[in-house]
């Protein structure tokens, strides 16, 4: 729709408008708060807990939640709350580290392909396509086997598996920016490549990238826990949500809370970051204009959108 007459006197920016929209979305705000709370509690685990996560106490195994142990104890008498918080610390640390690495590497690749086009297209297809088609668990096994078990080498796999989505997203956004007229205007003005990238591409790619980051974070977290469950990831006694669940499966009838608590933690974290990401997307892109930031279904359906046709 062209020729909007709406003029606000506030010289508010695009980012401020987005912030306002986000804050108006209660679910998004609550989700973000929950997620930040979880991250904060896990990060501050050493200061929030009085027990050590390896402190075994065979006299007090499988205890129910009590004043002493807020979430009870596990089969070796260790405080569940402590292990959950430290477990989260490990899982989330791995998730953040691998997702941020993937974002940086993926963005560089996508930027090269999007800005230069043509000869750099091979980076996206077939290179990224190949990387994306390798199952992450298989890749993790390869890294562990090749570089030594139990030393955290699986993290490379999680990072590598997350690269293609960022590369593709940045490629699409950068390519669409490069195709627009304001870039031609910038070239006509004599602006060099550095100016174009730093000024135009970055702030047009950032919104979609931020939204995708939240999704990728949830995915990485889940992958890490799955690997932990399969004993390819972090190994006991170091707590990690995945391996906690693995060892809790034997006690599912005796003490179901051993399994429920870490599962609930994973679910809550995943759901809250996803909902916050949804909220971010709605705030940053209310009209669904950004490419590739829409969900699969929304993107597919928009192909069929009719504008009030005469029937």
């Amino acid at each position: 729709m062209n020729g909007k007459v709406l003029r606000s006197d506030r010289a508010g920016g695009i980012w401020k408008d987005a912030l306002r929209r986000f804050c108006a979305n209660r679910i998004a705000v609550i989700s973000l708060a929950v997620f930040l709370l979880i991250c904060l509690s896990c990060a501050l685990a050493p200061w929030l807990t009085k027990y050590s996560y390896t402190a075994i106490n065979v006299h007090n195994t499988l205890a129910k939640p009590s004043a002493e142990h807020w979430l009870g104890t596990d089969n070796l008498g260790r405080d569940i709350l402590t292990r959950t918080l430290y477990g989260g610390r490990m899982t989330l640390r791995i998730a953040f580290a691998s997702t941020v690495t993937a974002l940086i590497i993926g963005s560089v690749i996508g930027l090269a392909a999007g800005y230069f086009g043509g000869r750099f297209d091979f980076l996206i297809s077939p290179v990224m396509d190949i990387v994306a088609s390798i199952p992450v668990i298989l890749l993790a096994l390869v890294f562990e086997a090749a570089l030594g078990w139990g030393r955290g080498n699986f993290m490379y796999a999680i990072a590598i598996a997350a690269i293609p989505q960022f590369a593709r997203l940045v490629h699409v956004c950068a390519a669409s920016v490069m195709g627009s007229e304001y870039i031609q205007a910038a070239r006509a003005l004599g602006v060099g490549p550095f100016g174009i990238i730093s000024r135009h591409i970055i702030h047009n790619v950032a919104p979609a990238l931020i939204v995708r980051f939240t999704g990728a974070l949830a995915e990485s977290m889940l992958t890490c826990t799955v690997l932990g469950y399969l004993s390819i990831g972090i190994n006991p006694p170091t707590p990690e949500w995945g391996n906690i669940i693995y060892h809790a499966r034997n006690y599912i009838r005796l003490a179901p809370h051993l399994m429920i608590i870490p599962c609930a933690a994973i679910s809550l974290t995943g759901i809250s970051v996803s909902l916050a990401g949804d909220g971010l997307r709605d705030a940053l892109d209310p009209r669904g204009e950004l490419p590739a930031a829409r969900g699969l279904t929304a993107g597919f359906l928009s192909l069929f959108k009719r504008r009030g046709a005469a029937n």
């Binding site: 709406l6 959108k305 005469a310």
Partner: protein, 340 residues
């Protein structure tokens, strides 16, 4: 063009009032406007972007969505108020009785289906008795009427393969498939080249006469109005500032806004030495309208009273009214009721 005053009024818009609730305030898009379209008559709705002409036409077909709010008024089609209809009832009227064509034809077609399948779907949706073969035949006939030379071949094409001008013709054909009594054309040629525009106007004129169809033609170009419209309503900032037959508007226009809009149409016969006149300033912010006339900030003749009170609707001749303080003094304000 003299229309028989005994012909029935097909569409009667009375005191239509629409506003939008935005976070910066209430945007009053349409302020109690009234106009009527007779059977077989072409009414032009003219104004700049933001004058409310598109919004008022969308409300006729029930196409407005929140945050648009219809505050009041009635839209009588053949005597029946269609403003408050449910979506199902409105859908029965859309396409069959009242059809609409839009500015951007590309967005009205589904790129996944062929033109032919979309046209036959339209026929079948509105006429349950037709068979597929009949629907296809009717579609081809209609395409021929809009001067498409190879309709059979076109039916097999997709919307993205066609140029703007061709798509617009197809959209006209689709809109006319069920022989509606009223066609609402929302700036159908604005996005097209001047030569294609000329051809499309010719097609519309021909079809309008052939089917004795009434038309509500929305545009910002007076040149087109002169060619195709019988009556004209000039809108500014959500108000109708002047209304009359095409002759009235062109040869005895009464409102300064109308006069200025007409002067701004570049014409081939004016001497090149004269500069192109234009209206200083921007259309008024619809969220911050004052008490006075909607055009007073940009009007070269505005006086104090223009800024203080809204002008009444003054009748200058049978069927020709204008809302302006300049006219209120001179002409006999028979229909002294204020236009607000």
């Amino acid at each position: 063009m003299d229309k028989d005053s005994m012909s029935d009024i097909l569409l009667d818009v009375r005191e239509l009032d629409v506003s939008f609730d935005t976070h910066t305030g209430k945007l009053h898009a349409v302020n109690k406007i009234s106009y009527a379209v007779r059977e077989g008559e072409v009414m032009g709705l003219v104004g700049e972007s933001g004058s409310g002409k598109t919004v008022s036409s969308y409300s006729i077909l029930g196409l407005l969505k929140p945050p648009a709010v219809i505050n009041g008024g009635r839209v009588l089609y053949k005597g029946r108020d269609i403003l408050g209809l449910s979506n199902k009832e409105a859908a029965a009227i859309r396409g069959r009785e009242i059809s609409m064509i839009f500015q951007n034809p590309m967005s009205c077609f589904d790129p996944v289906f062929t033109i032919g399948s979309q046209m036959t779907e339209t026929v079948l949706a509105n006429d349950k008795t037709a068979s597929k073969a009949e629907a296809a035949a009717r579609s081809i006939d209609m395409l021929r009427e809009v001067s498409i030379r190879n309709p059979g071949q076109l039916m097999r094409r997709y919307s993205y393969e066609l140029s703007g001008g061709m798509l617009q013709r197809v959209m006209i054909a689709m809109a006319l498939l069920c022989k509606p009594k009223l066609l609402i054309a929302d700036e159908p040629t604005t996005a097209l080249d001047v030569t294609i525009q000329a051809a499309i106007i010719q097609i519309l004129k021909k079809l309008q006469k052939q089917h004795n169809m009434a038309m509500l033609y929305i545009t910002h170009n007076f040149g087109i109005v002169a060619e195709i419209c019988d009556r004209v309503s000039v809108m500014c900032g959500g108000y109708i500032v002047e209304q009359g037959s095409t002759d009235d508007i062109f040869y005895s226009s009464a409102h300064p806004y109308t006069q200025l809009l007409m002067k701004m149409v570049p014409r081939m016969d004016t001497p090149l030495s004269e500069p192109l006149p234009y209206i200083e300033g921007l259309p008024s912010d619809p969220t911050a309208l004052g008490e006075g006339c909607v055009f007073c900030t940009r009007c070269p003749y505005s006086r104090d009273i223009c800024r203080e009170k809204k002008p009444p609707e003054v009748s200058l001749a049978p069927g020709h009214t204008a809302s302006c303080w300049l006219r209120a003094d001179n002409a006999s304000a028979e229909s002294g009721r204020p236009s607000v």
